[in-house]
Symmetry: D3
Subunit: 288 residues, 6 copies
């Protein structure tokens, strides 16, 4: 056990985790992983440790990841400029290929490997595998190239992986029936996967403490938001900017049967455990 | 989580438990429960909490209990004097009935109830159930009445309980084919049950720190004993008195396929967790 | 085979049992066992033989037992006076403990043992096991102490036992979430267990021939009663006294999906077989 | 139940059957059915009732039948003379077709129907189904046409039927890989099927009481014969004539793992039940 | 592979079959087999080959057969005149027996054998097996003797056979609870079996190209008929004579959940494959 | 079906495939895919069609692929020179990352997508997933950087995929316990995977017709080689150069239980089908 505290205290900590273990054992929890927690190697290992721990105590964890910075980096190395429209990457055919390659071949397998090093067993998938994520061109006002929206999710490969006690790790690219690959927003994909699997909980790791009344005052974080409060908070401008799609994903998950959706600060080490193993949790919890 | 330490530290403790969870998940661990840990209500609840925790993180715990003091007490209330020969209770027909009633009806079900209150699910059995412990009169030099020795163990009801994710709790009375009930030593029964279930670990809760070179010096505890060292230690008088049958049970379990047998101090709160979730453990470990 | 009749006649008897075997094979039959059939050792063995026979020919028998006289006797031996209010035992905390101990530790395990001697395999449970019978203080006009009524039944341990071809034997004590034990009426418990298991048949062994129009004339027994006739018979005073709770249990079972509920004379040897293996049956049959 | 004896006595008979039921439940018993028991309609119904009873109490009965007389009759109706060489039917191509048609289409399905009327569920097969009996021309000294010997048994269709709780009924025609049909001796086929299914017991219904020291004295029947005694009894001429192939089938079954092979008098009503449900049995028992 | 075309072309043919295999794999297809395709030995083998091929590529084929000509022939050989009323065989008790014997014992087992020779595994059943086809006297205006109509289908033996990867082959005789056998029209039986199994497709092999506007002009065949068009076509006299019962069977199948019912020319070699492995198919397709 | 030949001929072709389908249905066939068949888009689609066809007719196909040219191309695009030592790519840390990314993220998922477009369902894995390929630094005379050799294969994820009727597609990178990624030769990996899965057949697609006595004379191809002939053929120089590792993989597979290993010309369209669906096959077959 941990060296810095006495073994007796350690045992007490384990015992105090009992009611939370009981609550989550056998349940599906989808973790959306992105942002700084994905870039800092120590945080990365801490997140993977948390996931392995959850998996070992019987939680059926599914990991959905993004990977913007590494895509940008690889595109740059390939001599290709990244271009963003309203915060979304313009994805031409060549970019779509690079997105697939970096997400499904690099980031995804690196996470699978890291989970293995932490003592877990993971299987890396992308939305192309088993036709899991059927996508089409995102219908927004502007042409974003091969940025996709989800038409249908077939969660069978994930359900099989969970049943066989593997942790599925998913890179969010999808494809249409002609094999065209689309870049899919990972928050949205995580929400839809959580819904398709009937998850208990969708945990989104972000780079802020949660939803804040005033972005400048961390203490203004709102610990819990009911679905019915979202329109009002949006109108007041409290949900705004980059928060809008993240909140929308939480809303979508809840509307499709997920019990809880929570946005937590991925920069805090072991924030997943702290959220799941305490009554107060951390971050902002969205509920019906 | 625990109130006295910070949530971050708590998370670190949980994470530090990872390798031990990995080691025991899916394995059968038989806990022999007796002595002071069974009399003090706080220790009792702590032991049951430990067992529930182990069960929830995937360890297949089987609890085997004794109950001497309560038998003596009930016999006394019934106006019957307890009589001991060489430390073993002389068991006439009437006493055998009381032993069955107190062990299987009182202590056993109280433990089942306590496990339920701690959030676990237990099923209470005695050796009569499903013909689990076939016994005969103990063949020692002296007549001890219906003190029995085990002829055969049918672990099917325990295996079924474990498979259905219940914690089996066993009162160690057995019977012969005519239905005669025998009082069976709980240490021996635990060892045979551990062997019959192919257990990973047999943990015996006692009232001393472990096997000590000099009973007066707690620091003289021997942390690990190999099977081959037992004869020598017995000859030297280090294994003596009440230690002899306990050590013999450990030896028997190891000889029949159990991987580890450990004798720990039941008076230390959460001693089971400390033993299982640390490298050094506590108490004396017997190995092949 | 039986010595007193020719083997040819014996074969004919077996063959004549065919249609009844066909009718019950694979079905759940709950037997409520109490009264004189439980005190007379020969009758006791005959009842257990019947149950083993049913079990072997594919009937899924569940045995629910009471045990008033032995409780009274043990209380007396412990120097404690039994006290009854309106025919129900006043159950203080100490009495509740004795009830649990005698029912679950003595009577229950003795029945399990007897079934084993008759060639069957039984598992003894009480309502505390697996949290099977959740109870609360009985809400009657008078304070009866820890006499309980059933809040909820979790039949999982019984279903598992049946599935694994064991005969479950149940002592009707229950508990609340704080672990307080309650003394539960066995007729009521049998009815609720029958309902929870979707039983085909609830057979209650009593000390009279059945429901009689005139208690003094055995020939006035009513062979069949429809649910709709119960209020009338109660008004006429034909259902009265100790019959009221027994009839109520039958009614409750039928209302909750059990197909047949029959009250038979436990003093007649093999009355269960006679009831199940003849068209006319014996005793009073309640149907929807 | 049976009208001629009291219900109490009936219950006693059922109870006395308990140890025999315990002995056979879940075991495979192959019944070879032929001779007079097959011609007399009342005996036929009695045999089918016995089989349905066994099936309902958990015995896995497999029925193998012959059908010589009906074949002869149909051949005659078709204007074809039956011809026998050393007691075996000379089987030309046309006769082989008639044998198949009568055995598999008439006798077999009539037995299936009769089992249905007795409350059982049967499936009729012949050795052609699922390639169950692979046969070749019998290699005896004389040309018998398409009289076959068994090359291989694939018991899968029978095992499936048993698993799904049907009683398989088998007409003993087999075929080679070119589809040529062979007439197979039913005693031999029953022995090989019993071996292939790992049967507990092979029961052959015949038209005599058993193996007799002196055919003129029924009381000279030998109740039990060990495999090692067969050569001696053959030398003495006690096993002779039509008994030789029947005894050989029993020997073959025993040598291939069947535990018991018994030859009983099919002319006695319910002789199967009398054999299986009494200690002494009837007829001659062959054991290893 | 086939000798007459190059292996490259052969591979192309296999590849072109891909979409049709995908369409039918895992689906139940009931083939009603009768008429000339059943008499011509080469056609017979071709039909069986088609069925084995379908079975091997994962289609769950069920074969239902008739057998009028062979029945007539056997009756004649037995010196019994066949008699027809409105095209239906008058079936006295003796004829019913012969029908059973020829259909279930000869034709059925010959088909099972032929499937075996083509490399498939079949099990032959008739409606008596497992009480599969419960029948009663056909209620038509005239007395036809033991010509039956279907009261109930229990498809369990067929479902078991399919599950264990056998091809069930069914002779359409049925029986009532007294064991009386009835001669059942094979088209009707095939339709009801298809409905009971939730078949995808009912394929009826006939002796004409399909439903024709003008029987004298093969080119007038109607490729597809909707259920709603049937009454009109009947009124116009296009569905008439022997076509009426065949169309009625198709209609019945569709009304009870079968997706497609198609009538094809059994005289064309491999017409089943041509129907199933081409877009246009052959014959007349009935759809909802 | 195919347009260029008549439907009747098509049906004949399908029928002629019957014996080959029977031979392979339910068996595991590992296809090693590389070389020109992987670069030419039409050949690529033809190979994927073959694999989907095999999968649909019940063959359990596992696809193992290489991808040298695309790796070289991506390295070049990233401004990194490929360097080969004795025909093996020198793999520094950065190259290892690119190998993983291109193999597991690009080529692998493109194949999965193409299988989906051909109507199959595939799951893409690399050796990192589920710790499937445990590797270490290849121990050859020269330093090749992170070129690995296989230490252990855990085929569980592949077995699960097959069981759930997905086609597993494997990129041959492996990792050690520290997470270091190694570039693994695909021929070797295919052989070891075939052995670990108990495959029936290992099919290696290459760029030549097979093993030739004289590389300049295609007609000198050796159709079959026994294991015992390999040393002689190597000595004679017939197995030489790039053929050596390919033949070694075949030898390794055979030695570890694979039944057949065949090297075929991937440049011929549908060469897999031609090999599997004809007696003569194409290419060189290695057998024990």
């Amino acid at each position: 056990m941990s060296d810095n505290i006495s073994t007796g205290l350690q045992a007490q900590v384990l015992i105090s985790a009992l009611p939370y273990i009981q609550k989550y054992t056998g349940r599906v929890v989808v973790v959306k992983y992105g942002g700084n927690a994905m870039i800092n190697p120590e945080l990365k290992r801490a997140v993977m440790s948390d996931i392995v721990l959850l998996s070992l105590i019987g939680v059926r964890v599914v990991l959905v990841h993004g990977g913007g910075p590494e895509i940008t980096e690889t595109l740059k190395a390939l001599g290709k400029q990244s271009r963003f429209i309203d915060g979304l990457r313009y994805t031409d055919a060549e970019t779509a290929e690079v997105v697939q390659m970096v997400l499904a071949g690099k980031i995804n397998k690196d996470l699978v490997s890291l989970i293995g090093q932490c003592g877990g067993k993971a299987l890396g998938f992308c939305g192309i595998d088993g036709g899991m994520i059927k996508a089409k061109k995102l219908d927004s006002g502007k042409d974003l190239g091969f940025v996709g929206e989800i038409v249908d999710i077939d969660p069978q490969p994930l359900a099989n992986a969970i049943y066989n006690r593997y942790i599925p790790v998913i890179a969010t690219v999808g494809s249409d029936k002609n094999g065209q690959v689309y870049n899919i927003n990972a928050d949205t994909a995580a929400a839809e996967i959580a819904a398709a699997l009937g998850a208990e909980n969708l945990i989104t790791l972000t780079d802020i403490r949660g939803l804040m009344r005033d972005i400048n005052y961390p203490d203004s974080m709102i610990p819990e938001v009911k679905l019915s409060e979202v329109p009002g908070l949006t109108e007041q401008g409290i949900i705004s900017g980059g928060m809008i799609p993240k909140v929308q994903s939480c809303v979508k998950a809840l509307e499709n049967g997920v019990k809880k959706a929570v946005m937590i600060d991925g920069r805090i080490e072991h924030s997943i455990l702290i959220e799941m193993f305490s009554d107060e949790g951390i971050g902002t919890l969205f509920t019906r």
